[in-house]
């Protein structure tokens, strides 16, 4: 170890010699350094300094201060730690007494340097105490030594400090608590972690400041730390077996981890750089990494190739289960408040009509002029036509709930007449959530979309009526969806023959709905 320290010194001298030439005022210090080194090596005797533990930084400070005052050169000191396997020079048996301070010795060390040293001393490298002493020794002659990142000793010290800071940061990040119960209304958690360096005690304040409101214990191979709401405690190291094997929330955490990942952007190297494999064994989510990475290429490809034909299973995925309102009245009240009348719409809000639990749920487009005046859905000419058709199809009006995709009349004023205006796709879409709530409250077996506006509202995308009518489609909540035309379409047909054919088709669609609801 003495050899290493003196080689550090020689190196420092070389660096100084090559860089100091242009600054005459500092050259004097260079001279002093050489003098001191001469003194140190002449003494010849090696000193063994033993520190109380691997994290005995206060001890190192005390000893280093005394050694500096006595101007003991770094290569005369062997640093050891209690309980470490005996190494080093046999010439330095037992603890060497530190010589008395030199007369008039003044010690100086920059605060900035001391902070770096205290961090670097938590590094696992056994030579760190010697390295730090070598630097403070040289710093007596070169007070700004630490500002020179090109000095190889400083570079190594900085690298150690950086590595320790990273280890601390990773411990802050990767400790995973598991709940072990509650005591006196405080939740209790335990974690197992394996740091690279001697940092366990150093991270304790972070966990106290963050998890003040719960009791916790963190066990590492070297030491353990605990908090009970009043004081931090440190104890001996332990093993993984000290920590329970599972926690109820870990399943949810894994679900989150699996779903927040975007399969189109696999970057395993970036991930491994920040979360090195050595940590994986203590991270509950790590078991998902390999399967997620394997399946990602396939998932992306699937999305790229997917055909966009409307599936037969419209609304299949609208699986929101519970209605958010206690009753239809509450729903309509909230809706009338949230859905304020817009330009071009009537002020009047027309709710759906019919019994809760009706097996058939008819959805039209929007209230018409008559509905707007009377305040009830499907009472105008189209409503009357629907009534007739329902009767023909054998459907009891009491078993049907009727409502509209949009709940206000949209019109254009022409003189005294109010001309119906089809709502835009955007307006229909804005009401979809409400319509879904309405359906959840009624809980129908069969939903009938009257016309393309209603079909869009129910399926969330345009559906061609001609393509999908006459066949039951699967809908959310195990219901069936039947699409057909809007009764007003039947009113608008010009010729009688066309009217007759279309009305029959319409009644057939309603019969299909009745059969499905049976």
């Amino acid at each position: 170890m003495g050899g290493a320290a003196s080689s550090l010194n020689r190196h420092a001298e070389l660096v100084s010699a090559s860089t100091l030439q242009s600054v005459p005022s500092v050259r004097e210090e260079e001279w002093t350094l050489k003098q001191v080194q001469g003194d140190g090596t002449k003494g010849g005797e090696l000193l063994r300094i033993t520190l109380a533990s691997e994290t005995d930084i206060a001890g190192w400070r005390d000893k280093a201060r005394a050694l500096l005052a006595a101007e003991v050169a770094p290569d005369r000191v062997i640093w050891d730690v209690e309980g470490r396997a005996a190494t080093g020079d046999l010439l330095a048996q037992g603890d060497g007494a530190i010589p008395p301070p030199m007369p008039g010795a003044k010690l100086r060390i920059a605060k900035e340097l001391l902070t770096t040293i205290e961090t670097a001393l938590l590094h696992r490298d056994e030579e760190r105490f010697a390295l730090a002493y070598d630097i403070v020794f040289r710093a007596q002659r070169q007070p700004k030594l630490h500002r020179n990142p090109a000095d190889s000793g400083i570079k190594r010290l900085n690298a150690y400090a950086k590595s320790v800071r990273r280890d601390i940061h990773k411990m802050h990040a990767f400790v995973r608590f598991r709940k072990v119960g509650e005591q006196a209304a405080r939740e209790r958690f335990v974690a197992w972690f394996e740091p690279d360096h001697h940092i366990t005690e150093a991270v304790a304040p972070f966990f106290r400041n963050r998890f003040t409101g719960m009791d916790w214990l963190i066990v590492t191979p070297e030491a353990s730390i605990a908090w009970d709401g009043k004081a931090l405690a440190t104890g001996p190291g332990g093993s993984r077996a000290d920590v329970p094997g599972e926690d109820a929330v870990e399943g949810e955490w894994r679900a989150y981890y699996g779903h927040i990942f975007n399969p189109a952007r696999l970057k395993m190297d970036a991930m491994r750089a920040e979360m090195p494999v050595k940590y994986w064994k203590n991270l509950p989510e790590a078991e998902l990494i390999a399967p997620l990475a394997r399946s990602s290429a396939g998932r992306t490809q699937q999305m790229l190739e997917e055909k966009k034909a409307p599936g037969l299973f419209v609304g299949e995925t609208q699986i929101e289960a519970k209605p958010e309102f206690g009753s239809l009245e509450e729903l309509y009240e909230a809706m009338a408040k949230a859905d304020l009348p817009r330009k071009g719409f009537s002020d009047r809000f027309i709710p759906g009509a019919g019994p809760v639990g009706a097996p058939l749920f008819f959805v039209g487009e929007q209230p018409g002029d008559v509905e707007d005046q009377e305040g009830r859905a499907f009472v105008g000419p189209a409503g009357q036509l629907l009534d007739t058709a329902l009767e023909k199809a054998g459907i009891d009006r009491d078993r049907a709930f009727v409502t509209n995709a949009v709940k206000r009349f949209r019109f254009q004023q022409r003189g005294k007449r109010r001309i119906h205006q089809t709502p835009t796709a955007g307006e229909i879409d804005m009401h979809r959530w409400w319509l879904d709530q309405e359906r959840l409250l009624v809980e129908p077996k069969v939903i009938v979309a009257l016309g393309s506006s209603a079909a869009r509202a129910l399926a969330g995308k345009p559906l061609k009526i001609a393509q999908w009518r006459g066949q039951p489609l699967d809908y959310a909540g195990d219901a069936k969806l039947v699409v057909t035309v809007h009764p007003s379409f039947l009113l608008r047909l010009p010729d009688e023959e066309g009217k007759r054919i279309e009305r029959e088709k319409f009644v057939r669609d309603l019969e299909l709905a009745r059969e499905l609801a049976a």
Binding site: P149, R178, N209, F261, N262, E306, I319, A338
Partner: protein
């Protein structure tokens, strides 16, 4: 009809949130729970508690309140015409989930966003209520980022800022025409107006805090936005000009760029292609040059062609290759502003050079100790024992500094 468990909802609503690039938890005030006896702290520096296989940091519980949405924005997986599974969390479920995850040290906090249901105000109220419950009822000291809804009442924004560390509004597309075409219910004007109000309030609260340390906080982590890259035909010039305008006018902390990823059940108006990850990466580099290196948008674009950045090399190198007249730079004498323009030198390396050269003239060996790699730097600088000679003007310089193509494919 099956009732969804919390875990199933979490899967659906995390899936819905993953296209938001931001996951930072840094830059807010420092806080801890020692006094309150609650749970949570912020250190000023964010902590990534895990990393997903896409290399992205997992720092926050990033979820949607609901993925039902009235709006039909083409680029969005949650648009009303998309056929994805839908779910809605209750306020209490989000609060519990956040605390359960936080207490196990999985996360730094919550990033909450939502599809718009019932009305913009109602939706925003739900978001604010989650933040209020966490802060007030549970004494939660962790990080909270709320995605605000520009169409909601400004008073709700004020309330949100009281509890949240950061607020954001996504602009999504770089110009108003694109917004009108791809997000018919949104308006660029409205988004910018809300951003301006937000920036103004954040600035105001900071000034008040300086005068009076007990003045209430308002989103101390600032506000941010996100732009989608590659969904619409806008070029890099348009994107960077928009960013630069946003940084300048609204005091934004960050603009995030998100390469458009193919989404399930995509709208037919969108490109069907793998996400332009390299382009996203170059935009982030350009963004850095704008914010920390004193470059203007015009200068950055000089390095590319036709309003697009050079995808093969980084934007600073591209600029330097087209402006070789300003090089070589003497590393022993140049000021910080000039050093910032040297390819391969970052702000940290420059700091080290400035402090090391006080100890004497820097040589090649010194530079090697100060920076990660000298390969890209050497053709553009001189040192006590180094001059690039003809290398700087060599026609093959670009080719020699371009990384091999197979490394550019990030997956």
């Amino acid at each position: 009809m099956a009732v969804l468990s919390r875990s199933e909802k979490l899967a659906i609503l995390a899936d819905a949130a993953k296209y938001d690039a931001s996951c930072t938890s840094s830059g807010s005030v420092k806080r801890n729970s020692l006094k309150s006896g609650g749970i949570g702290s912020t250190t000023g520096m964010g902590i990534c508690h895990s990393y997903a296989p896409d290399g992205r940091c997992i720092s926050l519980l990033k979820i949607l309140m609901t993925n039902y949405c009235m709006f039909d924005c083409h680029y969005c997986i949650n648009r009303t015409s998309s056929n994805v599974r839908r779910a809605t969390f209750t306020v209490q479920e989000v609060v519990d989930l956040t605390l359960d995850f936080y207490k196990r040290n999985y996360i730094e906090g919550l990033f909450l966003s939502s599809g718009i249901i019932r009305s913009p105000d109602w939706t925003m109220e739900q978001l604010v209520e989650v933040a209020r419950k966490l802060r007030v009822e549970h004494k939660f000291g962790g990080y909270i980022h709320l995605k605000t809804i520009p169409e909601a009442d400004p008073d709700l924004m004020t309330e949100a800022g009281r509890y949240a560390d950061r607020l954001s509004i996504n602009i999504e597309l770089p110009d108003d025409r694109a917004i009108a075409a791809y997000a018919p219910e949104k308006s660029g004007k409205r988004i910018r107006k809300t951003m301006a109000t937000l920036g103004h309030r954040i600035g105001e609260a900071k000034v008040e805090r300086k005068a009076n340390r007990k003045a209430p906080l308002f989103a101390p982590g600032g506000h941010s936005t996100q732009m989608i890259v590659g969904a619409d035909p806008s070029n890099d010039a348009k994107i960077l000009t928009t960013s630069s305008g946003l940084y300048g006018s609204y005091g934004l902390k960050r603009v995030y760029y998100s390469a458009f990823s193919p989404i399930p059940d995509a709208s037919s108006r969108l490109p069907v292609a793998a996400p332009p990850l390299i382009r996203e990466h170059r935009l982030y580099q350009a963004d850095w040059l704008l914010r920390f290196y004193g470059f203007t948008v015009g200068e950055i674009l000089e390095g590319g062609e036709g309003g697009h950045l050079d995808l093969a090399i980084d934007p600073k190198l591209a600029w330097a290759l087209k402006n070789r007249g300003g090089f070589p730079v003497d590393l022993n004498r140049a000021d910080r502003e000039t050093l910032l323009r040297v390819p391969g030198l970052g702000t940290k390396g420059i700091g080290k050079i400035l402090s090391a050269r006080r100890f004497g003239a820097l040589r090649l060996g010194d530079l090697e100790r100060l920076v990660q790699s000298v390969r890209k730097i050497l053709p553009f600088v001189t040192l006590a024992d180094w001059h690039p000679g003809g290398r700087l003007d060599s026609l093959s310089l670009r080719a020699r500094l371009t990384p091999p193509a197979e490394q550019m494919e990030l997956f």
